[in-house]
């Protein structure tokens, strides 16, 4: 029998991923990979020179994103991706700096940095993969775990109120805030595109399945079951009042673009202010 000739075509992600690091470590059914695909797509559609994009991650499952993207990429310490990205952006303002990390990293241990970067309107884009728990360490309760959901350190269910990420982001001063699920690939892509194009601090929260830990512990089924849940329970409500976006256990998920406003970025505000006060004596950064 004649041997079948198979032509291996290049992966469409080839120019974007470090193929020498694939396969990745994420579990089957995990949503992080689909968010990375959306990110790649957004960069492609934005026609940004990839040499000018840097990704900074913290620690955790999503923290591994920096290691797979073929960009200048930094895998830093737990919770500190945002201040690291702040330094990177201020050192080289021409860069598009994207923080790609999880809910525990950005809003648990790193929460303080998040609110201050939003307050300053630091020109960085945050892609936060929210899987409702600390997955890398074994499914512990997080600042995002819905009430009553089970976690390995909340074995009788969670009784702590979780953060609503869009509400927090808007209150702290973010200029662009959106929430989607990993089912909304095209919408995630579009939001990332919009956020990249917008100067200022932007947050895209993407709710993703954690099949191995959160779903298994709560007997929510496999990845498909979770996507089905997202499909059934998502309500798209652009411009919704961010005070109404709490997520309850297996309750409805209000998604959409909630905030899209203008405010001077940290560097713009600095330049404008210093020119006003010091006039010609001010030496603009990089001059």
């Amino acid at each position: 029998m004649k041997k079948e000739v198979r032509r291996e075509t290049k992966s469409p992600m080839e120019g974007f991923l470090r193929m020498d690091r694939i396969p990745h470590i994420w579990c089957p059914g995990c949503g992080i990979g689909t968010v990375v695909t959306s990110f790649a797509d957004a960069l492609k559609k934005s026609k940004i020179d990839l040499d000018n994009v840097a990704v900074v991650s913290g620690i955790g499952c999503t923290g591994r994103v920096a290691g797979y993207v073929k960009l200048d990429s930094f895998h830093t310490t737990h919770g500190r991706a945002i201040p690291f990205a702040t330094g990177l952006k201020l050192a080289n303002p021409d860069l598009k700096v994207v923080v790609f990390s999880g809910d525990g990293d950005i809003f648990g241990i790193g929460g303080n940095h998040f609110i201050h970067a939003a307050r300053r309107n630091m020109d960085i884009t945050i892609v936060c993969v929210n899987n409702f728990n600390y997955a890398m360490t074994g499914g512990q309760v997080a600042a995002t775990t819905p009430l009553d959901a089970n976690a390995s350190t909340a074995p009788y269910g969670n009784f702590e109120f979780p953060f609503s990420l869009p509400y927090l982001a808007e209150a702290a001063g973010a200029t662009y805030v959106a929430r989607w699920t990993a089912l909304h690939l095209r919408r995630v892509t579009k939001s990332i595109q919009e956020a990249l194009a917008k100067p200022g601090f932007s947050l895209i929260e993407v709710i993703t399945p954690c099949v191995t830990l959160y779903a298994r512990r709560n007997r929510l089924g496999d990845g498909l079951n979770l996507l089905r849940y997202y499909y059934d329970k998502t309500v798209i409500e652009h411009g919704a009042d961010t005070r109404t976006l709490d997520i309850s256990y297996q309750g409805k998920l209000v998604c959409g673009k909630f905030v899209d406003k203008e405010r001077p970025t940290f560097l713009d505000a600095m330049d404008e202010h210093m020119i006003k006060i010091l006039g010609d004596k001010y030496v603009r950064y990089g001059d």
Binding site: G67, F74, P83, G87, L90, V283, Y285
Partner: protein
């Protein structure tokens, strides 16, 4: 290369040590400062904030010291020379990311204007209690460089030296001063820019697809690239190979981690700066650093007047420790006397190097003030018995 004149405030100034640190940083080419206010170090941040709009750069007051050091590391990978200043509690908060800087081989400078500890301790009063923390504070095995100025002039000089060493060896370098030197006003002479040697970062300039972030150069130190240069590199706090890719096994650990220490240990002779006086004829050597070395002089003068043969050794570099020299001296002298403003830190290193060949005496002071020279003299006399 020579310093960029934009940052050099040439002339004679009457300023304190904290200001001199800021001027040293600016002269060395530092154009990014991220910090958080903490007594007794705030004047350095204030000075930098005041001066940087005339020089061209960024001062940012972060939300805490963890954010400060994280921003510094980010800014280095964005291409800047960077520094911050802090004191004990802030230094403690920085420790995890100091480890990240060591692991990523990120050059940066941290000045620690020490105060009495532990905890909040003596915010406004002096101490030298962070000397061991500077060496061992972050987890894991690594080496750093720590310098100890004894005057505002040396705050300026050694801050420039700290930047140069950090660039040569790609490590965090600490300027371990203290509240006394930090708040002491003295004459500080800032030379013309063309008389200040600064070390430029060793940039990679090879083909884009060939860059390996942790491939060693002949001197054992890898080339650096910055984000945006088109090399599209990766770096991580995980144990990594020369591509910067994580490799989580004992073999890679055994290959990567010793190198972080050896690049300092193997070059210790080049890094270490000490100042010796009347050491050849000495029976007793007083070893000290920072403000304490200025107090010890008085005790040494009194002892010499009484006919005792006293040598002195001042450590301008505390880490790496001048162990070779102290081992040598231990064979010749009767005893070492080590005054320092803590309950026994650098003295332990002296004792280790003396390894029983010479006696080692500690003169502790718990902080809040400097030693009474008579207390040091008393111990010198005891050592001479």
């Amino acid at each position: 290369m020579k310093a960029d004149p934009k940052g050099v405030l040439t002339g004679s100034h009457y300023i304190d040590g904290d200001y001199a640190i800021a001027e040293g940083g600016l002269a060395a080419g530092c154009r990014f400062f991220a910090g958080y206010p903490i007594t007794p170090s705030t004047e350095t941040a204030e000075r930098f904030a005041e001066r940087i709009p005339y020089v061209g750069g960024v001062f940012i007051q972060m939300e805490d010291e963890i954010a400060s050091i994280a921003a510094l590391i980010g800014a280095v990978w964005g291409g800047k020379k960077v520094m911050t200043v802090t004191s004990g509690p802030g230094f403690s908060l920085m420790m995890e990311n100091i480890g990240l800087a060591c692991m990523m081989e990120t050059p940066l400078v941290i000045a620690n204007v020490q105060r009495g500890g532990p905890s909040t301790g003596l915010p406004t009063l002096t101490g030298q209690q962070d000397m061991m923390q500077a060496k061992w504070g972050s987890h894991g095995d690594y080496e750093i460089i720590a310098l100890s100025p004894d005057s505002p002039q040396e705050c300026f000089d050694l801050t420039i030296e700290a930047f140069n060493l950090s660039e040569i060896y790609r490590v965090p370098v600490f300027v371990m001063t203290d509240e006394c030197v930090g708040h002491m006003h003295e004459k500080v002479v800032i030379p013309p820019a063309e008389e200040i040697e600064v070390v430029e970062r060793k940039w990679y300039t090879g083909p884009k697809d060939k860059y390996l972030p942790y491939k060693l150069d002949k001197d054992g130190i890898p080339f650096m690239a910055k984000a945006g240069d088109g090399y599209r590199f990766h770096t991580t706090g995980l144990t990594h190979d020369e591509r910067g890719y994580p490799v989580i096994n004992a073999e890679c650990q055994a290959e990567t981690i010793p190198r972080l220490s050896d690049k300092i240990r193997d070059n210790a002779d080049k890094i270490i700066m000490t100042e010796e006086d009347q050491i050849d004829s000495a029976e007793i050597v007083v070893i000290s650093y920072g403000i304490t070395s200025r107090v010890a002089i008085r005790a040494v003068q009194m002892a010499r007047k009484a006919g005792m043969k006293i040598g002195t050794m001042r450590l301008k570099t505390v880490w790496p420790f001048p162990e070779k020299r102290i081992k040598q001296l231990a064979k010749k002298v009767k005893a070492f006397v080590v005054p320092e403003i803590n309950y026994g830190q650098v003295v332990l290193e002296v004792e280790r190097c003396a390894s029983g060949k010479a006696a080692t005496y500690h003169v502790p002071h718990l902080g809040g003030w400097v030693h009474d020279p008579n207390d040091i003299l008393k111990v010198i006399k005891e050592a001479a018995k």
